[in-house]
């Protein structure tokens, strides 16, 4: 059962007690969130089953197609900003032809997965948290538990599958649009021809850059769905609690995306 007893504590008497309690609760929360991720992950073999496939395809659509608009704008402008900033700097050394390479590599390695992660955390993650949170405070999750319908299978698994698949795909899309945005700025502001830009871009980029970026995107997907579902399933105290769950989801996934992104980079590029 996902539904848990409400935890009620006495007022803390001093700062140490407050700090200690926060620490313990944070550890407990991390453990529970990871157990939820595990619990949903073991349900993924059921994604094609008659009971679940409809929800899975619906979530794939929600995450993939409905986010395309924002992702497109963010991707295009990320590439354009990168090209403009770096290009103006490089022009002082007569090196502006190299913006292709710089935009391409930084999109593939970092900016693609990172920007996609932030956009999806803010849009899809917060929506999942709000929905799950509303269901929790409205006793709908409890009702599912009592009907022996596992919320991890019925609700979390489809979202997990959707984000694990769509985050890498969206990242590929972000990368392409970002590189295109760079080319547009290169052609219009820096006088670099399209051929020269793309030639330069793909000469230096390696497959590894793409794969590491996609691996990051996959991890970010897991982070977003885990944080959002955990926050939603543990929401309490009505509408205020739902708001709090949504806010925490965005904050915690932003932080984790930054931190995990750094360590993955360090792991693969030493």
């Amino acid at each position: 059962m996902i539904t848990r007893e409400p935890q009620i504590f006495d007022e803390p008497t001093n700062v140490f007690q407050t700090a200690g309690r926060r620490l313990i609760l944070a550890c407990q929360g991390t453990g529970r969130a990871l157990m939820m991720l595990l619990g949903a992950a073991v349900q993924t073999p059921f994604m094609f089953s008659r009971k679940n496939r409809q929800d899975v395809s619906q979530q794939l659509y929600q995450v993939g197609i409905k986010s395309l608009g924002v992702v497109s704008v963010v991707a295009l402008f990320t590439g354009m900003i990168l090209a403009l900033q770096v290009g103006l700097e490089l022009r002082r050394y007569g090196q502006e032809t190299n913006i292709g390479m710089l935009v391409c590599i930084s999109m593939l390695r970092e900016m693609g997965p990172f920007m996609t992660g932030l956009v999806i955390a803010a849009s899809v993650g917060s929506a999942i948290a709000a929905q799950m949170g509303t269901m929790t405070v409205g006793e709908e999750i409890a009702a599912l538990d009592v009907m022996s319908i596992n919320p991890l299978r019925y609700l979390m698994m489809p979202r997990l599958v959707a984000l694990a698949i769509m985050m890498p795909l969206l990242t590929v899309y972000t990368n392409l649009l970002g590189i295109l945005g760079g080319a547009m700025v290169g052609a219009s502001q820096l006088g670099i021809s399209w051929e020269a830009y793309f030639d330069n871009a793909f000469r230096y980029a390696e497959n590894k850059d793409l794969y590491v970026g996609l691996f990051k995107a996959f991890l970010f997907g897991l982070i977003i769905v885990t944080v959002a579902c955990y926050q939603g399933f543990t929401a309490s105290e009505g509408a205020v609690g739902v708001g709090r769950a949504t806010r925490r989801t965005v904050i915690v996934s932003f932080l984790l995306i930054l931190i995990v992104g750094y360590f993955v980079t360090r792991l693969f590029y030493q």
Binding site: M1, P6, K51, E139, S148
Partner: protein
């Protein structure tokens, strides 16, 4: 069937149940009444493990629900149908799919049979022809009845009703009361009903219990309940204008 053994529960400083001790028998309609916030819903939630006692145990048949887990808990919960106070419908499914949900997700029945059963239960609660409406588009009372249809669609042996008739008009309320009564008479379903409405409590209950200050002030047959001298019960009866069981019978034309 359901036994509370010295069950205590408190939330922070607020004591909700104090060493409460009672048994609900098979085929009984046990009605819990009491003022708002005394812990009626909390009692119900103990029976389905949404809450566990601070001390004491809750038994369902021969299983201790407050200590069960895994498959055992699933088996115990499978015996229950629950109508939640707020109906707890899934907002993105239409009425019919909501009622079908427990059948689709926990049993492997052909889809025609699932739909047939859902339609039948919806008709029982007086909701023909609204199957394709969304929960947001129907009234609160209708949502409640959809929740009721969902609770009984799996044909459970024990049904918990948290305020089944609050927010319903008198005619529909009466219809729901009759439904609860007929489930008991025809299928020997054990029911636990939480309600504020003494008329319906006294007409459907085989026993009526008044929860007050963490304990049952009175737990007796409708006849004894009406005759009780307990001040809280008297207040409750007076507030609803019931002096004698005949008042209830008259109101329902029995």
């Amino acid at each position: 069937m359901i036994r509370f053994e010295q069950v205590s529960k408190r939330f922070g400083a607020k004591v909700v149940l104090r060493e409460i001790d009672y048994e609900i028998h098979r085929g009984e309609t046990f009605v819990i009444v009491g003022t708002s916030g005394v812990g009626k819903s909390v009692s119900l939630r103990h029976m389905i493990r949404l809450l566990t006692p601070d001390s004491g145990r809750v038994w369902v048949g021969d299983d201790c629900v407050s200590e069960a887990s895994g498959k055992q808990l699933e088996r115990i919960l499978g015996r229950f149908g629950v109508l939640f106070q707020g109906a707890a419908l899934l907002q993105w499914l239409n009425v019919e799919d909501n009622v079908c949900l427990p059948l689709r997700q926990t049993m492997n029945l052909p889809d025609e049979e699932v739909r047939a059963r859902a339609t039948e239960k919806l008709a029982l609660v007086g909701l023909e022809g609204v199957g394709d409406k969304m929960p947001a588009d129907i009234s609160g009372g209708m949502r409640k009845r959809v929740g009721l249809a969902r609770a009984i669609v799996t044909q459970p042996e024990i049904i918990l009703y948290d305020e089944p008739t609050s927010g319903l008009d008198p005619v529909i309320s009466r219809q729901i009361d009759l439904l609860i009564d007929s489930l008991r008479k025809q299928l020997q379903v054990t029911s636990v009903v939480v309600t504020h409405d003494l008329y319906s409590a006294l007409s459907i209950g085989t026993r009526v219990a008044m929860l007050h200050d963490g304990q049952f002030a009175v737990c007796a047959s409708p006849e004894e309940f009406v005759a009780s001298e307990h001040p809280v019960v008297r207040d409750f009866l007076q507030a609803q204008g019931i002096a004698h069981l005949d008042d209830v019978r008259k109101a329902f034309g029995k």
